[in-house]
C-alpha cells in the first residue's frame, strides 16, 4: 500500500503548513502512519509489499525528522516556497553574527579551566539556547512577512547554532566522563 510521495510533510501528518508545530499532534499522526505502513506489517507478505513498505516508511521517517528539527523545518518551509539551498556555497556574511559565534567558541574552550566547569557550561548552554529561540522567532517574522531572502539568512545562522549546541553537548559528556 503506497502513498503520495509528492505531498508535503505537513499534508502527510495533517498539520498546517507553518513553522509552529504541535509536537503532540505530530507524534500521534506519526505513530498512526507507522502502524499502517511499517515493514513489520508485511514481513510474511510479498517482496513487492516489503519493498514498498520500506520506501513509504523511509519517507515517513524523513518527514518526521524534518518537522521535528527547528532548522530542518524552517529550511523545508522555504524549499516549499521555492527557495533553493546550496550546502557547499551558502554561508552567512553577517560579520557581527560570525564574531559572536567565535566568542561563544572561545568561551567553551575556557570551560575546563573554570573553577566549576559544570556551572560554567550550564551558563553558556542557557544563553545559547535563548539566542537559538530568538533566532527561530526571527525566522517566523521574516517568513510570515514574505521576506524569503532574510528567512534564508536566518536558516543559515540556525546551522551555526546547531553545530554549537552539538559542541556543548560533547563538552558536557567529556566533563562527565572525566569524573
Amino acid at each position: 500500500m503506497s502513498i503520495d510521495f509528492k505531498q508535503s510533510y505537513f499534508t502527510l501528518f495533517g498539520l498546517p503548513q507553518q513553522y509552529v508545530v504541535d509536537e503532540g499532534q505530530l507524534a500521534v499522526a506519526f505513530r498512526e502512519l507507522q502502524a499502517t505502513h511499517h515493514p513489520d506489517r508485511f514481513a510474511a507478505g510479498s517482496d513487492e509489499d516489503r519493498r514498498v513498505a520500506q520506501q513509504v516508511t523511509s519517507f515517513i521517517n524523513t518527514a518526521q525528522e524534518t518537522l521535528q528539527s527547528p532548522r530542518l523545518r524552517a529550511r523545508y518551509l522555504l524549499s516549499l516556497a521555492g527557495v533553493s539551498f546550496d550546502d557547499e556555497r551558502d554561508t552567512t556574511s553577517d560579520m557581527m553574527f560570525l564574531m559572536s559565534q567565535m566568542e561563544r567558541r572561545e568561551q567553551l574552550e575556557q570551560v575546563p579551566n573554570a573553577s566549576d566547569p559544570f556551572d560554567a557550561i550550564d551558563v553558556i548552554s542557557k544563553e545559547v539556547k535563548t539566542d537559538y529561540r530568538d533566532l527561530q522567532e526571527a525566522f517566523v517574522a521574516a517568513y510570515d512577512s514574505g521576506d524569503l531572502e532574510e528567512a534564508k539568512q536566518v536558516v543559515l545562522k540556525l546551522k551555526f547554532f546547531e553545530r554549537l549546541l552539538g559542541e556543548i553537548k560533547q563538552l558536557e559528556e567529556k566533563l562527565e566522563d572525566d569524573i
Binding site: Q34, A35, P39, A43, Q54, T57, N61, T62
Partner: protein, 623 residues
Amino acid sequence: MALLQISEPGMSTAPHEHRLAVGIDLGTTNSLVASVRSGEASTLADENGEHLLPSVVRYLENGEVVVGKEAQAALATDLQNTIASAKRFLGRRVEELKTLAGQLPYNFAETESSVPHIQTHGGAITAIEVSSEILKTLKERAEKTLGGDLKGVVITVPAYFDDAQRQATKDAARLAGLNVYRLLNEPTAAAVAYGLDQQADADNKIIAIYDLGGGTFDVSLLRLNKGVFEVLSTGGDSALGGDDFDHVVAEWLLSESQQSESRDEYLLRAAMLEGRRVKEALSDTTEVSASLGDWSGTFTVEQFNTLIEPLVKKTLMACRRSVRDAEIEKEDIVDVVMVGGSTRVPYVRQRVGEFFDKPPLVNIDPDKVVAIGAGIQADLLAGNKPDSDILLLDVIPLSLGLETYGGLVEKVIARNTTIPITRAQEFTTFKDSQTAMTIHVLQGERETVEANRSLAKFALKGIPPMVAGAARIKVTFQVDADGLLSVFAEEESTAVKTSVEVKPSYGLSDDEIESMIRASMENAKEDVEQRRLRENQVDADRSLEALDSAMASDADTLLSDAEKQALLSARGELVAAKSSDDADTVKAAIKQLEKTAEFYVARRMDSNIQRAMSGHNITEFES
C-alpha cells in the same frame, strides 16, 4: 507431536492459518528459542527439560559436531576444538581479535580472508558456521516441539551490533536453513516482553533497558505508548560483557598464584573457568575460596567489585550518553529493566540503581526475556495476530558516513535515526574528465577513516567526462528494518546510469556462503549416517543382552555343545561388527545372529509352553 492450539475466547486464530514461527536469542553464553502457544510466549526446552542451550560447539575427530552442554563439558580439555563465545567474533576481522579480552586458545588458520578461520577437527571454521550449528540445534528443537516446519524466525542481535555483525548473523541463519523475518535488537525484544508482562496500558511511559550479557552491552531508552515501542536512543559496547568480568578475576588468580607470565593455554582456560565460577558464587555470598592448580586462597566481594568497577563505569558512561541522545532527563525514566545473565552481579545492580536514582527491575527472568520478546515478535510477523497493536520502531545505533578529502568522514545518517531510512548525498568530480570515483562507506562516530569501521568500497565507473565539478553523483544510503545498509550510486546530470560495484570490506561472499551450504548438506548426510550407526549399535546391544540372558537360563538344558558354539560364534561376529563404523555392517550382523538363533527361540517357546501346560488339560484352554 503437534500441540493443540487452544484459542482464548476473542483471540481466535483459525488453526489452519497459524504459521509456526519462533524467536531465537543467539547469546554469547547461552541461546534460547521461544514461541507463542495458546496465546502465551514461552521458551522451549530440550529432551532433558533444559531451556538454555550453552553457546558452545565442539568439533570431534570423527566429524561429529556437538552443541550445548555436552560441548561445554569439554571446554577445559579440548581447547582447540571447543568453541565458546563465537558471538564475540561474528563480523570481526582477524586484526580485531587480538584486542579481545582474554587469550583465545584457538588455532587461527592463515587465510587470505579477513574473516577469522579457526582450525578444528571439522576443518577451518568461522564464527558464522559455529553460530549456524547453534541455530540448527534450536531449529530442530523447535520443529520437534511444535510439530512442523518453521515458516520464519526472529533472531535477536545486540542493538549496538554494526552492519558487518548483523550481516554475519543473517548469514549464519541462512546457513542453518532459517527464514529470517527480522533481526531484532535485544533491548527492544526485552522491552516487548516487559511491556506485555506489565500490562502496561502505558501512555508515554519511558523505560530504560540495561542489557549486560556474556559478551555485549546495550542500553536502550524506549517510549511505550499503547503498544507502540519507540526507541529513543540506544548505546552500548559490542565487546563488553560477563566474559570480561571472568577475565579480570582470572588475571587476579594468575597474579595471586604467581603465574601471570604463563602462556599455558590449559592454565589460562582453567583460570577463566574458575573466574566464572567465583563470580557466580559471589552473587550469593560475600566471600569464596578459589583455587588454581596448586594455589588456593579466598576472594571477597569487595575485591571483586574493585576489579569490575572500571567495566561497570564504562556501561554507565554509555547510559549517560544515551540519556543525552534521547533528549530527556534521567527523572523521566519510569522503569529500569535488567536484562542478561551478568545483571545478576549485585554490584552491577547497585551501581545502576545509583545512576538512575531508582532500584532496577529484576523480577523478569534476565535469561529468557529476550527470547520471549523475539517469540512474540515472530508470532506477529508470521501474520498470526492481524489485529495486534504492537509496533516496534527502532533506530540505527551508529552513524553512517562517507570518506571525504583528507581521510575524514562525513556523516550521512546520524546515530539514533529511526529506521527504515533512506538518505542521499551528492558528490562531484574534482578533476576534469574524471570518469571514475571511489566511494568508501563507514560506520561510527569518529572523525577519521581509521577510527571508524569500513563497511564497503564502491567503484563508480563510467562517469561521462565533464569539467571538474560538473558531474552530480548521488549516493543513496538505505537502511532497512534489520539495520542493514544498502548503497546505490548514480550520476544525475546525464541520463546515464553508471555502473556500481560494491565490495564489502568485510564478510563472506555469496560464493563462500554457497559452498558452506553445500558442505553442510554433505555433513548432514554424514549426520544421518552417524545416527543410523548409533541406532544399529543400540539394537545390537539389545540382541546381545537378550541372547546372553536366555543362554544363562537354559542353554545347558536346551542346547547341545555344537549348537552353543554356533550361537557364540555368531555372537562374536556381532560384537566385532558393532565396533565398526558402518551401519550396514552392524545391521547385517544382527540379522545373521537372529537367523542363527531362530531355532533356539522356537525351542524355548516350545519348552515354556510345555512347562506352562504340564499338569493341565488342553480342554482347560478352550474358552
